[in-house]
Amino acid sequence: MSQEPDLLTRRHFLRTSILGAALSWTVPIFVERTFSLLNAEAAETATQIATGKDHPILVVLQLAGGNDGLNALVPFADDLYYRDRPTINIPRDKVLSLDGYVGFNPRMAPLKNLFDQGKLAVIQGVGYPNPNRSHFRSTEIWQTASDADKYVKTGWIGRYFDNCCAGEDPTVGVTIGSQLPQTFTAEKNTGIAMTPGGRLGFGKEADASEQQVFNELNGITQDHDLTSGASIGSINGPSEPTLSAVEYLQRTALDAQVGTDKIEAILKRTKPEAVYPKTPLGNELSLIARLISGGLPTRVYYASQGGYDTHNAQENSHNNLLGQLADALSAFSSDLTSKGIWDRVLVMTFSEFGRRVAENASKGTDHGTAAPMFICGGTVKPGLYGNHPSLSKLDQGDLIHTVDFRAVYTTVLNRWMKAPASKILGHDFAALSFV
């Protein structure tokens, strides 16, 4: 009875899923057992079955490279800002003031509009104790939600999948692009990475015997049509490290067939209802909007924008990045508003760290610590949260964080995703009130 839902059971489940009865080796008793196993697991973990129609959706947006928070959310009323950044500051009269002390970079005007419409919250001074200034380590800390001196293998969203989405199909998490972020690393279900136009199969011209052998060699033994539309498409295998390389490949082939067919079907019947900027981020968000409106049972989407590692001559490049971010988010918000689903979506940005307060000799900024996070969505409680870090009381030239990033995650998990945050994060953090 305490049989683990391993790779074998998962494949058997797919083989024996309702329509799988057409395949000759179906064992009806196994169907029953698999369902009871699923139900048992669902009961234990409060599985949230997603229908694709009404569950809340989170979009995690990574600003990769370390966003210079001080030139995005500018403390323009503080003379120390202008003293420490003599050449790369945002002039006081250009800043889009939010509260008389801080304001947005002028290239973020579309986000100022969202803020004014009450669709955007800004969390100031987000970081963590004993900050690490390595891109990789700090990204890992943000992605796994660990303490700075602890190493955790799974991602915080991956643990959400494990805890709340057991037995759901692999599209529960979708990342656009060809790399899965560590945020999604899970014991059971890691979600999928997708690029448009991909379908896994032997090819349209293949005859039946070739297609069958292809499926067998890849460990795919269900007819892929069987699972389309079903929200309990698969039981996922055990944690990846225990799989051999070949087993891991078989599992991925299965996920690809289950996931990409469904996605391609949605892309055929949806289109954007806003004009997106022709940037990589604009394309990603446009795609995500279509998948949401098409009813993909995805809880968490992951997108990213790179280029924030501005050590050198940062003025133009950083402003452009912020402009691209604001334009893309603004289009996303109009698109989802037109589609009538903006109320179901929450976008959360993060970056591995902010940057040093003082500019460097190359008219750029080096790796620092705390930075703001931006949260937008149809039902977000707008405004500024947390205190802006002091520019006079620094730790070795760096800002001291005022909000722990895991308090933000706690808010998102508890209040938005209705998930047990303390179990997923392993600590209790007081939630904020932006949701």
Partner: protein
């Protein structure tokens, strides 16, 4: 010392295992020869190969596009500047595509596969990206430096890389000076290149950054030391005080016992398997620590019983470069060039000269996810059948820490120069269709073989899988072959090759 593989355990399969790991696979006749000559002779052949006479790429001219750069500087209108920038970007991208193509071709044909495999290893280790460096000359120079020291001395290589103009741009060493030392290189030198995280302090980073000041690049894109930009003061680094320069910092680093372990472990994981036990690594590190010579370390690895153990077999997922090169080298499929090759590598998840960040590629199972596996299978069919190769203008975007905001070459240069210039409309839905010749089948099988499905499957399996395939896998492919009319036609054989390439087994070695 690790125990050596005994003579009677050296077989065709061990030779094939070595060929895939220490290189990019070999032809069956070469593997027969290796089987016959024994392990020692084969390992020596890999470690002391014949000269590779590939000429340098045509794109390697220092300070190229100086005129285009001037046009950007001197543009009088914003539109003029945008145009000049675009012209410079496109010209630079074309050169970088040429460089990627050049190295791919070299790996395909080289008589010194281990040198190229180690060049690829060092490229991933001392990662430097064309996204930021934007000079095919600098990246080619760096590639030659990796090749020159591929099997040489790690201390010498590390010092050479600290003065390498590509690296100096990538990690901002070229703009670091005594008053404001830039810490980027100093940090990664310890975190990623030599010691690993946790084996030094933030203070060590600050102090060593001072020692790497005064490094400059001249207008011929060569290293130059500028003494008055150098901080010659006293520095305390890893508990030792002195007026250290950069080379001395590297010497002090390599005296740390953990350094030899860090590199030995990374090499073992690259060549053998991902989870070595600590005793094995300690034995390798003991040897490596003596003088940081790479050749004896590799000789030990490739001669060890552990390297050929069942645990090591089929345990490594081929990286995209190996997937592409090995398919060309062993099966003879035609490999695309230019921007198409760039796009192929991009969708497979590894573009040479464009690592995603300074950490290089994560490798291992992370090569494979639903998107990359789907593309591998689509590509296999296209390479073999020679049907169209479709480039979707996918935005190139490193997942992490892109060091510059330079847009992807794919994002702007829409359909490439290989197709009609009238399609240069930068539309995001435009597809770039390139035709490649199909796999030449006559190189794989004789007319006689074509009458016997089993002979055909045996011959192409030997090339595709190198080692003897799993009997079940063999039988299933044979079953498909037996359904086809005899003698087997070119396209029937191509179907079988594609089927083999579209299996989990083909993705591993």
């Amino acid at each position: 010392m690790l125990s050596q593989l005994s003579k009677e355990k050296w077989t065709y399969d061990t030779a094939a295992h070595l060929a895939a790991r220490a290189g990019f696979g070999e032809s069956p006749s070469r593997l027969e020869q290796w089987t016959h000559q024994g392990m020692e002779a084969t390992v020596q052949e890999l470690l002391h190969p014949a000269n590779d006479t590939t000429p340098p790429p045509s794109c390697v001219v220092p300070n190229q596009f100086a005129e285009l750069r001037e046009r950007v500087q001197e543009a009088t209108s914003p539109e003029g500047q945008v145009q000049a920038r675009q012209a410079l970007r496109q010209a630079t991208n074309q050169q970088l595509y040429g460089l990627i193509n050049w190295w791919t071709q070299r790996m395909l044909t080289t008589p010194a596969p281990l040198i190229e495999k180690m060049t690829l290893f060092w490229h991933g280790h001392f990662a430097t990206s064309g996204f930021k460096v934007r000079s095919s000359y600098k990246l080619w120079q760096q590639n030659e430096t990796f090749r020159q020291h591929a099997l040489g001395n790690f201390a010498t290589l590390t010092k050479a890389i600290s003065r390498d103009p590509g690296m100096m741009v990538y990690l901002d060493l070229a703009t670091s000076h005594a008053e404001h030392p830039n810490e980027n290189f100093a940090r990664e030198l310890m975190e990623l290149f030599t010691l690993g995280e946790g084996n030094y302090s933030e203070a060590d980073i600050k102090e060593s950054a001072r020692a790497f000041t005064g490094y400059r690049i001249d207008r011929f894109e060569q290293f130059r030391f500028v003494k008055n930009q150098f901080d010659g003061g006293n520095k305390t680094f890893l508990q030792q005080s002195g007026n250290w320069n950069g080379d001395k910092i590297i010497d002090i680093i390599l005296k740390q016992p953990v350094a030899a372990k860090f590199i030995s472990s990374k090499l073992w994981k690259f060549f053998a398997y991902e989870d070595p036990d600590s005793q094995l690594i300690e034995k390798l590190a003991e040897l490596f620590r003596q003088n940081y010579e790479i050749r004896p370390l590799l000789e030990t690895i490739f001669s060890s019983e552990e390297f050929y153990s069942q645990h090591a077999r089929n345990a490594i997922v081929k990286c995209p470069v190996q997937y592409v090169v090995e398919s060309g080298r062993t099966l003879g499929v035609n490999i695309p060039s230019g921007r198409t090759l760039f796009a192929v590598y991009q969708r497979l998840g590894q573009v040479p000269f464009y690592p995603p960040n300074v950490k290089g590629w994560d490798g291992g199972k992370s090569w494979i996810n639903t998107a990359t596996l789907t593309f591998r299978y689509q590509l296999a069919r296209q390479l073999v059948l020679g049907i169209r190769l479709v480039n979707e203008p996918q935005p190139a975007k490193p997942r992490l820490a892109a060091p510059s905001a330079e847009p992807s070459p794919l994002a702007q240069a829409s359909p490439s120069a290989q197709t009609s210039p009238t399609t240069q409309t930068a539309s995001s839905t435009a597809l770039n269709v390139v035709r490649l010749p199909a796999l030449p089948v006559d190189q794989l099988v004789t007319a006689e073989d074509r009458k016997d499905p089993e002979a055909v499957v045996r011959k192409i399996c030997a090339r595709a899988f190198q080692t003897t395939p799993d009997p079940q896998l063999f039988d299933r492919i044979l079953a498909v072959a037996k359904l086809k009319p005899l003698p087997l036609a070119d396209d029937a054989i191509r179907d079988l090759v594609a089927l083999m390439m579209m299996t989990p087994n083909y993705q591993v070695c």
